[in-house]
């Protein structure tokens, strides 16, 4: 068969070269090479010499079969074949796949892996991080689930997923979602974060890793469904947030909003996905820049609380400018005025009383300016960077700057 390339493409079956050169039939070097097919060195050379002719479809059936047999075993020939074939493809001017294939492909893909649920913007970082972590877990083989991740707690991958299921579960319970099976809410779970985590981790040590993963993921999807159903729409007219986003709840001993709580869940899911990836020597993709932006801004808003928790003295009339660089970064002014109710977390991005605003040139001069990469800052807040070693540009009152950096991880748990 062959492809004719002048103005049309016809593929027809043929029996080999139309013009037979009798004197070449059995005396060709090719036959000797065939008999040496067992030797991979010779085979490799033979195939390499055929790659060009195969790409333009100018060889026999036997030669084609020889090439294909070799290509499944030889990466360098496969790569060259793709390259030569790419050139051959361009020569062919084939019009490409039919239009109807697109719908079929996309539908099939979505059947195999449903897209991330569409949730309101304030819950989107959580939905996206759950998706990323679930993909990471899908890449693991059974033995990798037992790899230690957080030595401080003696937790491996499975324990860490159980911990996430426990802390997500606390929010789910507070929102009134059903507790589900004992796998999700084992006895002794309770309302205290640490107690609940301990109970869930212990319970799942007796369960297969696949079960732990399913429990965590299914609960996360139920949370997303809840936000999808209840989280859209406006709340009070003066507040751009939805009623759900601004609803006050108490979680883990802290008064906060639902918006803050789900953003904290997103943050924790990101940090732990990164912990797992690092422990396994794998790469996990970064969150979308918009999601990094929300989490970064939230971290800035937490600085006054973190400072207070860390034993920092009250600083009236003091503002700090925090410049977060990189995709999803921002430029913020945060007040350290101790007008915060404790233990309360700031209302979350966009809220009236969160204490952080976007920096403008007309803003009050800050006492200190910190400039660092947004991802570094997020990981610092999450307790995964050493404040003394982080790359940061500090201007103004240096001591305050260092105090803030040291305090940033104060709110992070495991």
């Amino acid at each position: 068969m062959s492809l004719s390339r002048r103005g049309s493409v016809t593929i027809r079956a043929a029996e080999g070269p139309a013009l037979v050169q009798p004197e070449r039939r059995d005396a060709e070097p090719m036959n000797n090479d065939f008999s040496e097919r067992g030797l991979s060195g010779a085979e490799h050379e033979v195939v390499a010499s055929l790659l060009g002719v195969w790409a333009v479809d100018a060889c026999t059936r036997e030669e084609t079969r020889l090439v294909l047999d070799h290509l499944v075993r030889c990466v360098s020939c496969a790569e060259e074949s793709v390259r030569l074939g790419g050139a051959a493809d361009l020569l062919s001017s084939d019009p490409g796949p039919p239009a109807r294939l697109r719908t079929r492909v996309l539908e099939r893909a979505m059947e195999r892996r449903p897209p991330t649920p569409k949730v309101p913007e304030f819950a989107a970082p959580y939905a996206a991080q759950v998706s990323v972590l679930n993909l990471l877990l899908a890449e693991l083989d059974e033995s990798e689930w037992a790899v230690p991740v957080l030595d401080e707690y003696g937790w491996n991958v499975q324990d860490l997923i159980a911990h996430l299921a426990a802390t997500d579960g606390l929010l789910a319970a507070r929102l009134g979602l059903p507790g589900g099976s004992p796998d999700r809410t084992p006895p002794g779970g309770g309302d205290d974060v640490d107690a609940r985590t301990a109970a869930v981790v212990a319970h799942h040590r007796r369960r297969p890793a696949a079960v732990t993963r399913t429990v965590w993921f299914d609960q996360a999807m139920e949370l997303c469904a809840y936000f999808r159903t209840n989280g859209f729409g406006r709340g009070a007219s003066s507040d751009p947030r939805s009623a759900l986003e601004s609803r006050s709840i108490s979680l883990g001993g802290w008064s906060q909003t639902v918006g803050t709580a789900i953003l904290t869940r997103a943050f924790e899911t990101w940090i732990h996905a990164s912990d797992i990836a690092a422990a396994l020597g794998r790469a996990a993709p970064m969150p979308l820049p918009g999601d990094i932006h929300r989490m970064g801004r939230f971290g800035v808003a937490l600085l006054p609380v973190a400072l207070a928790l860390n034993g920092g003295r009250p600083r009236p009339d003091t503002s700090v400018r925090v410049v977060l660089t990189g995709a999803g970064g921002g430029d913020y002014l945060v007040s350290l005025d101790p007008a915060l109710q404790e233990p309360a977390l700031p209302g979350g991005p966009g809220s009236a009383g969160e204490g952080v605003t976007v920096w403008t040139d007309t803003a009050v001069a800050p006492t200190t300016t910190l400039q660092l990469d947004v991802v570094d800052f997020c990981f610092l807040t999450g307790g995964r960077r050493d404040p003394g070693r982080i790359s940061v540009r500090l201007t103004g009152e240096a001591e305050l700057g260092r105090e803030l950096l040291a305090a940033a991880p104060a709110l992070s748990g495991p």
Partner: protein, 202 residues
């Protein structure tokens, strides 16, 4: 075959790595729109590779579906350190297409038989016997071939455009067969190099 970029704009390796990384982030975050974008950009390549290997439109469609489904199900299987998204998709398509052909051959169970998609009378042959109107050949591809030295250009003309086998072309040009084979390979490499500079081949 549609080039990735407009004619006067080339994507350098760093910029491409950034684009690839952004795609992976969106795939991982579960944004279904990005799959449509990647399909629009790369399906001609994926389909073209599969078609060339399998010689069957139906098989090429199946391979295309499998490659993009795999991309969506396992975006973290892409290792940006090993190459671009484009080259990864081309290799996936190539690998899968080769498997399909070999599976078909095993299915037919006859080492002496024609490769499945090619045997006379098989439905695949009827299907691919349909005449397909070719699109206008890209001007840059033509000029890449035209700039080849005469000895390389003439053998491409014979084997590719005039459908001669390499043995026939060797006879036509009075060359040893080994010479013919190596000239075709050299010619394709040069065309690939020229076009790679313009971002047109994997």
């Amino acid at each position: 075959m549609v080039p990735d970029q407009p004619a006067d704009r080339r994507t350098g390796p760093d910029e491409q790595a950034g684009l690839d990384e952004a795609w992976v982030r969106r795939l991982a975050a579960g944004d279904e729109q990005v799959l449509g974008e990647l399909y629009d950009r790369f399906s001609p390549l994926v389909y073209g590779v599969a078609l060339r290997v399998t010689r069957s439109r139906e098989a090429a469609e199946d391979v295309t579906q499998e490659v993009f489904t795999f991309l969506w199900e396992r975006p973290l299987a892409f290792d940006p350190g090993k190459g671009t998204m484009r080259s990864w998709l081309a290799l996936l398509s190539h690998r899968r297409a080769v498997e399909v052909v070999r599976a078909e051959e095993r299915r037919r169970g006859n080492l002496q038989a024609n490769l499945g998609a090619l045997s006379p009378g098989s439905s695949a042959v009827h299907e691919v016997e349909d005449q397909v109107t070719a699109a206008e050949v890209n001007g840059r591809v033509r000029s890449a071939v035209a700039t080849l030295p005469g000895s390389l250009r003439e053998i491409v003309e014979l084997t590719y455009f005039k459908d001669r086998s390499y043995r026939q072309a060797a006879a036509d040009l009075g060359l040893a067969e080994g010479t013919a084979k190596s000239r075709i390979r050299t010619a394709l490499r040069r065309v690939a190099d020229t076009l790679a500079e313009e971002g047109l081949t994997p």
